[in-house]
Symmetry: C2
Subunit: 221 residues, 2 copies
DNA sequence: TTTTATTTTTAGACACCCCTAACTTTATTT
DNA sequence: AAATAAAGTTAGGGGTGTCTAAAAATAAAA
């Protein structure tokens, strides 16, 4: 059994491993869990003692099978609760993160499965992130940042890299949503900003910062 | 802002005041929050410093207006979540307490109201307990323990005093449910056990212990 | 009313999780 | 390779919430 804090660290490590594929460094974890490096080191010892991570001082950490199981379970709960909040309670996609951060720690041997069933076994959460199944399996998204899409190519928006309220509201404001067809019209070499069209209609000029945080799946056509 | 632990203490005090009407003693609180008297004393100082209770050593405690507001909010959340678990997720009434104990501490300025609306503004939780409204108002139940009902009188079951899984399953097993009409047929003076009829049909013999934990509203007729 | 029992509080300690400051190890420059 | 910078760890400490054991206050009994 893990504490809320331990679960948060495991989830953070899992996210970082997903992105980088390598051993995770202390400062990266500290940034994700909003704490300091020293606190991270303390926790790494604890998680290592519990055999949830493999840790060698100065060399970063990775999850053990046991640790990954816990982390994915937390992620599964987080994403299912987000679906509940948006689809059942009527929240907007930029409002649910903090509440789901709390709900993901609710402990029950049956709750997650009942919730999953109640929601109709959703595959994806409101931000396009895949929901791990009961056994912990989670298929890899075939997605790239819009910033990497070649000029003149079309793609479907499937997710966001930045989950902050600020960024999500920005997308809402410009009517850019999951599932939209996005085409890169023209890239400015100077600042890597780009002109895009959304659903073959409106043209919008977005910064590279924004383009990096929009995730798309290339459409083969 | 209160910690989970503080909220649990406030809720316990509130419950005890509801029952006794008087100042609450340390050991009673300790029993309800599953801790020791010494821990309670520590917490009483903390809650007193925060002006959530009024506390004089050796003389028991009571809630301040501020403390009562917090306690009722927690109770409201607990009962709403119980409704959700039973009505939406399909839990049985004896399975929801522990999960609701966790859910009641979820912090959000909007969640409770959205949940309330989603559930259709329920008045009562699965155990017959009244759900405080948004403003914290909660009407008093006109209910007495079945044990106090005079022989030959009819009443409607409206609640339970014991929320334990064991007791609730006992009631399920004997098909005694909220809303059932109960009539006391005969009381045994020796052990205060009694013969009752449920919905004018089956007769059951129940102990005084059980009769004390079944709450009924006298039907005037 | 004095003694005994019960209840409550204080004292001292520990686990958890966080912090700052100082030190050590590793990486990067020059 | 030596000097500097960056990253990570250790040392020491603080707040929360719990505990046991001992002391103090209150209640009950002789």
């Amino acid at each position: 059994m893990q504490t809320h804090s331990e679960e948060n660290y495991l989830k953070a490590i899992w996210k970082l491993v997903e992105h980088s594929g390598e051993n995770v460094n202390t400062n990266a974890i500290a940034a994700l869990v909003h704490t300091r490096a020293a606190s991270v080191t303390d926790m790494m010892k604890k998680l290592s003692d519990k055999k949830l991570i493999s840790y060698q001082p100065y060399k970063g950490v990775s999850l053990t099978a046991k640790g990954e199981r816990v982390a994915i379970e937390v992620v599964r709960k987080h994403r299912l609760w987000e679906v509940f909040l948006v689809e059942q309670l009527g929240y907007k996609w930029d409002e649910v993160h903090d509440i789901a951060e709390q709900l993901e720690h609710i402990r029950s041997s049956t709750l997650t499965e009942k919730l999953d069933k109640f929601l109709g076994f959703p595959k994806v959460d409101p931000h396009g992130d895949l929901i791990p199944d009961k056994s912990g399996k989670i298929s890899k998204q075939q997605q790239i940042p819009l910033a990497q899409l070649e000029s003149g190519n079309k793609a479907i928006m499937t997710g966001v890299a930045d989950h902050s309220t600020l960024f999500l509201r920005f997308l809402d404001k410009h009517k850019i949503h999951l599932g939209d067809t996005i085409e890169t019209k023209e890239k400015t070499t100077y600042d890597s900003s780009m002109e895009i069209s959304v659903n073959r209609k409106k043209n919008i000029h977005i910064s590279n910062e924004v383009a990096k945080n929009i995730l798309v799946r290339k459409s083969r056509s």
